[in-house]
Amino acid sequence: MNAEADTLVGDSQAAVERERRRRWLSIASAVVVTLVGAAAVIGSRTYPYWTPLGPGPGFFPRWLGGILVVCGLLWLVQVLRATRTTPARHADGTQEAVAQAILVPEDEAPEYSLPTVLAIVVSLCVLAATLEVLGYQIAMFLFVLFHLLVLGRRRLLLSLVLALVCSVGVFVVFTRFLTVPLPASSIPFLRDMGF
């Protein structure tokens, strides 16, 4: 609703910002790909490379790692070259065209909001970390509440009810009717209370 208006006003600026971010992400990804390849080569050096019958356990990891290193470096060069040949002429046609040729057309990559992305990822990790400590019901209740109240800015009553359904409700349905066990708390006090 109001987010829509915001994007309209800051559209061109946001596009420039997104483009810049995406380029950095490409560079970082290329580096990571190269490193993953290198790690695979190094990590597989203890696995036998060849056996009397043919390739051993180390054969594929070493070659795949090698391919990744080469491709990662090639990609890095591609992205860097494209960055250098584009002077700081932001948000005009040329810059867009280059971006399209080497990266992704504008319409392909959807809009995201970095704070939301981080909030989601961190909250999921916290949920995973607390799942077996607090038990599914409490951990999930807090998680859903956080998403509705803080991220979604929903009303308190609605948030509480939905969080209750997703935590206690889902727990009962899954453990009792679908016989899919979900974790209980490992804290004796909470466990005794039925969580």
Binding site: Y47, L53, L68, G72, A109, Y112, I120, G152, C166
Partner: protein
């Protein structure tokens, strides 16, 4: 056999699974950016508690529902669910602007039904003979066949050969995790027995397609469509006459392209659209809201999706990412798709095939009249839906092996999927190689055990040799055409 299958597929229980799957799949497909693949990935957890037949029936229904949900948003909002309905946006949205959204959606539904049913009929006829042929596919042939799939993947999917190779190689490398098939050594497991069987597919798929998509669209404001009234849903006689040949062409194109491993249904709908542009009688109107522009691609992508079951059931090769997700579900249920399915699990396989018909029919009977209801679901605040989906994917990842590690894996692959989308790395090669990787290495080893260490087994067996030649030709052709394009100053895309 097929009749028995219908008996089982129409049992109240399985029918209910199909119905629920269809409804949930459509709801998920309505969400921005989520189509059939992501929809299935997110809903896999629901199927974990079911028996194999029920689970697969439900997933197949989710698959259809998700695709149709994507069609609805393409037509009404100009937002495609996945690549497969992207091309529908062009004429579909124009029709909406002209107040003919209902007709577009009905035509898409009828086209999907016809395309899907014809392709499934082909599956029924071809499946058993093909599966007998499939038995000729021993380890060496399987190895060569997988190489064809890899060559196609690298050349066809994505816009750059380089990024395609990176994605495919990453998938293969992830597939290396676990006890190796050669000497039984734990590989890249960090000493944790949890990884001895490799990284499980479900959290990876849920992360890449489900969470990744939700992260990538996290900045989008919720769209607000208006529902077409029922009167507008029925196509006129003129519409029917114009769309009939398009549906026929779409069925054939989708059915044939769907047989090729590694080609996604987006390519079928693109091909169908460009065919319409060349041969349709009213081709000049395409792009301005012509019914052919909706009928042909929508038929083609559903025909493609159903045809893609043929290589899965007869050879055990997943032909597209969506089918790969389904294959993951098969494996999860302890069933390895392949030619022996017809002798070992005849009841299951015919039930599933029958349920494909049922799913197609449900889609037509249920989704089309309910279009106005679907559009109202879009009015539920996105943040609410998202919170519920998050709860769901967490349970799903955990429930696969009752392990928190899988939740972290899901989150990690969600971030990977998000980054892939941002930097333009294609997801499909990674998923397909992740699933095919273990088979590739095992097949190589088995071939060499059969030949007692001689590599000539791959060229001595005629079928294997033929496959190898095809793979080489495809690879050379895609590299060659890419370099030709580059020299001509064209973008090096392989966007068929």
């Amino acid at each position: 056999m097929l009749l028995d299958g219908f008996g089982a597929a129409l049992s109240p229980q399985n029918l209910a699974f199909a119905l629920i799957g269809c409804l949930l799949g459509t709801i998920l497909g309505l969400l921005p950016g989520i189509g059939s693949t992501a929809g299935m990935a997110i809903l896999i957890p629901l199927t974990l508690a079911l028996d194999p037949a029920g689970a697969i029936i439900m997933l197949a229904a989710i698959f259809y529902g998700g695709a149709y949900g994507g069609t609805i948003t393409s037509v009404l909002l100009n937002i495609p669910g996945e690549g497969e309905s992207a091309i529908t946006c062009i004429d579909g949205y124009q029709m909406t602007l002209k107040g003919r959204a209902g007709v577009a959606l009905t035509t898409a539904g009828i086209g999907s039904f016809i395309g899907g049913t014809v392709a499934t009929l082909a599956l029924v006829i071809a499946a058993e003979p093909l599966s007998r042929l499939g038995l000729k596919i021993g380890p060496p042939e399987f190895f060569s066949l997988v190489l064809i799939g890899l060559a196609l993947l690298v050349g066809l999917v994505g816009r750059s050969v380089l990024l395609g190779i990176i994605s495919a190689t990453l998938g293969l490398l992830i597939a290396m995790v676990g006890i190796d098939p050669v000497m039984g050594m734990p590989r890249f497991t960090f000493g944790d027995p949890h990884f001895f069987d490799g990284i499980s597919y479900v959290p990876v798929l849920v992360g890449l397609f489900g969470l990744g998509e939700l992260l990538a669209t996290s900045g989008q404001a919720a769209p607000r469509p208006t529902a077409p009234t029922l009167r507008e849903l029925i196509p006129s006689r003129m519409d029917a006459r114009r769309s009939a040949p398009s549906i026929a062409r779409g069925t054939v194109i989708g059915g044939l392209v769907g047989l090729i491993p590694g080609v996604s249904s987006a390519i079928s709908s693109l091909l169908a659209y460009s065919t319409e542009k060349k041969v349709a009688r009213h081709r000049d109107e395409l792009g301005t809201g012509a019914i052919e522009g909706v009928a042909a691609p929508e038929t083609a992508n559903n025909s493609h999706s159903n045809a893609a079951f043929i290589p899965l059931f007869t050879l055990g090769i997943p032909a597209s990412p969506a089918i790969a997700v389904l294959m993951g579900a098969f494996l999860q249920n302890g069933i390895t798709p392949g030619p022996t399915l017809f002798t070992e699990e005849p009841e299951l396989i015919w039930t599933v095939i029958a349920s494909l018909f049922v799913g197609n029919l449900l889609l037509l009977l249920l989704n089309v009249p309910l279009v106005s209801l679907w559009t109202r679901i879009l009015a539920i605040p996105y943040s609410v839906l998202r919170a519920v989906i998050f709860a769901f994917i967490v349970i799903g990842s955990y429930a696969v092996s009752n392990s928190v590690i899988d939740i972290y894996i899901m989150v990690a692959f969600g971030v990977i999927g998000f980054v892939f989308r941002q930097v333009g790395l294609p997801l499909a090669p990674l998923v397909l190689t992740l699933i095919l990787g273990p088979f590739l290495e095992s097949a190589l080893r088995q071939s060499l055990q059969l030949s007692r260490g001689s590599f000539s087994i791959f060229v001595d067996r005629p079928l294997s040799l033929a496959f190898l030649v095809v793979a080489a030709v495809i690879l050379l052709a895609s590299v060659f055409s890419a370099s030709l394009k580059r020299r001509a100053g064209l973008p090096t895309d392989a966007e068929v």
